[in-house]
Symmetry: C2
Subunit: 392 residues, 2 copies
């Protein structure tokens, strides 16, 4: 329990609130900020002036509105001048981007990640991407930090990757390795890939306006970023959301985590390919191959999609009973499976989820696709700035 804030704390809070608003919503008129933030016009003017001086926003007259009277100035985040680096370590690829305030991707790089690649081999190309992108940064631009999304369980305090079974890493000091390779990088924050993607789809994507959201991400494994009452369900150590290791089939297959019948053994890439008679293949292209074959009428591919769809609906039904969400978003290759198996998924979900828990639910595909992980990684860096815009 904390008592209320002082006047100076209120001002700094308001600066962060205003900056966060334009960071998430983009260009916004002063009039709209006045109404959205519940502050009067002069306060909005003073806050905007402070943020302009700090180089975080710009103000300009809007384009012709066609309405009479003096138009309200429009406040924009300084997307081209204030930026973070975003890195993403995924099962099949390594990605890097330079992301401007407002979540705009200014530059990007990508390379394949062969399965089995170790930490030191993965951080080298990422660091190289950053060095390449740095060469093109304008001289007056301001760097705020680097965020990293990892397809695994991450200890935020020090960037230790505790467990990333699909990548094959256990207790790997990825944060320290990146810091060593990147050199003077300032604030470096790691987060879970599904968690950061969820926050971005929640703030500016398919679940904008929804306070209770389950974002599922699937490829080889399955993870989730879960938003309850507008906030991430992180858990005690930050490891919440490991829905891929919810056991759904006590008589199922062994999982890479050592348990048996985990949800990802029934809905991950391997299950789909095996049902489709393509167990020797792997990767996103192979999954898309099955989905396309199912759409073309290939009966074994359709069988595979139905089987996996049943189990997707099964697990989502469980999560709906636990969380009573408004929106469930299917990301990664689960998006593609969802598009052809929506009927099975809905049917099984309806059988398992209690009517009150599912009554307003919307099933969705991501709006930002793979960019959510990059924008979300950058959010880890921007968060420090948004907490207190004048601190740095």
């Amino acid at each position: 329990m904390r008592a209320g804030p002082s006047q100076e704390e209120v001002r700094r809070h308001n600066l962060g609130t205003l900056l966060r608003y334009v960071h998430v919503h983009g260009a916004t008129s002063r009039a709209e900020l006045t109404s959205r933030l519940g502050l009067n016009r002069s306060t909005i003017g003073a806050l905007t002036a402070d943020l302009t001086t700090a180089g975080l926003v710009t103000e300009a007259a809007p384009r012709e509105t066609g309405r009479a009277g003096r138009p309200s100035l429009v406040v924009r985040p300084e997307s081209s001048k204030v930026y973070a680096y975003a890195l993403s370590i995924e099962v099949d690829r390594l990605r890097a981007a330079r992301v401007g305030l407002g979540g705009r991707i200014l530059d990007r790089r990508e390379t394949d990640r062969p399965r089995g690649m170790q930490v030191l081999d993965a951080v080298q190309p990422l660091a190289e991407f950053v060095h390449e992108m740095r060469a093109d940064v304008p001289g007056d631009a301001r760097y705020v930090g680097t965020g990293v999304a990892v397809a695994g369980m991450v200890r935020r305090a020090d960037g230790m990757v505790r467990l990333a079974p699909t990548i094959g890493w256990v207790e790997e000091p990825v944060g320290a390795a990146l810091r060593a390779e990147l050199g003077d990088v300032g604030k470096l924050t790691l987060g879970n890939h599904a968690d950061v993607s969820a926050l971005v789809e929640h703030s500016r994507g398919a679940a904008a306006g929804c306070d209770n959201v389950i974002y599922l991400y699937g490829d080889v494994g399955v993870g989730a970023g879960i938003i309850a009452d507008g906030r991430r369900v992180a858990g005690h150590g930050g490891y919440g959301g490991e829905v891929g290791h919810m056991v759904v089939n006590p008589y199922g297959r062994e999982c890479s985590c050592g348990s048996r019948g985990c949800w990802e053994t029934e809905i991950g890439e391997y299950a789909l390919l095996k049902h489709a008679g393509r167990a020797e293949l792997s990767g996103r292209e192979a999954v898309l191959g099955v989905v396309e074959a199912a759409m073309r009428g290939d009966s074994q591919a359709q069988f595979a999609v139905r089987q996996v769809g049943e189990w997707i609906g099964f697990g989502v039904g469980n999560l709906v009973n636990i969380f009573n969400p408004e929106a469930v978003i299917f990301g990664g290759t689960l998006r593609d499976v969802y598009l052809v198996a929506a009927a099975q998924i809905r049917s099984r979900l309806t059988a398992i989820a209690l009517p009150a828990c599912r009554e307003h639910i919307r099933l969705r595909t991501p709006e930002l696709g793979g960019d959510a992980a990059l924008i979300g990684a950058a959010e880890l860096a921007f968060e420090h700035l948004l907490e207190d815009p004048l601190l740095n």
Copy 2:
């Protein structure tokens, strides 16, 4: 996104914070309030004076401290003067209490609830209990409202019980029925039994100081109140926490909800009694009979307890992967089963839950037992007062 508060809002927030602190923690010295709330001594003095004038707290010199210097005044909630009625509708019983500010039970009543009892027959004895207790209320006492805990899914807005399969009610207007029977009752708020119990064990019971908590309650059915980062996981309509209907056994028995293999079909009262060869029995006493027989060495009872223990550990393991909690509390008859099956539960939990998700977990029994539901129901009524102590 909301901008920061005005000075008057800050004052009202501080009044609520101080009152909430003594409500939860009991008698607290001004010196400790100053340090806990991060406010200076004169502010604490002014807030305490306002709350004293409003009749919500008292101040007195502490008992002899044995230390030199003037002792800090001790602030106490007015437990005997400010009160709520708490009602609890459970599978086997109906309970009512008068609860003082600070969560002190001042008076209580209880009667059996025969299974199958309908809403109108249940609200009559509850209303009678309230009328009886009202006769003993001191003339200067202040009533703040009535809270009701129901072993079912409740729509808080109007007190509609959407689904209470173990009680046998579907879409029953329990709030309206109680209001009709109680007459002029003022604020009447209904909540789910496990949710309100969880909040009390979280604020002043077995999970005090833990921010990520799963409180399980079992009898015929199984429900949970889940706390993530200090706040209840309510979900979009308030129906979250229905973990009893997480399907754990796709090849299991039909559940009262219409699905198959729900967790409560494997760990609820009926499963235990059936495994113990006592399927013709029911109720808390019958469950305790099996637990006691297992402790005495009865092999069939031990088998039953082991079977149910395995499935308890299974489901808890799933929830640990999803929530990464610090504490799991076993309430209702699950408490008794836990006490004899802790080894099975821990072993299965360890097999299913990922190491990072379970590394700091503590398994606990409730500190407040059945009183948690009554104190929690009263909290529903006190919440209005704590939000803004001077409003009424």
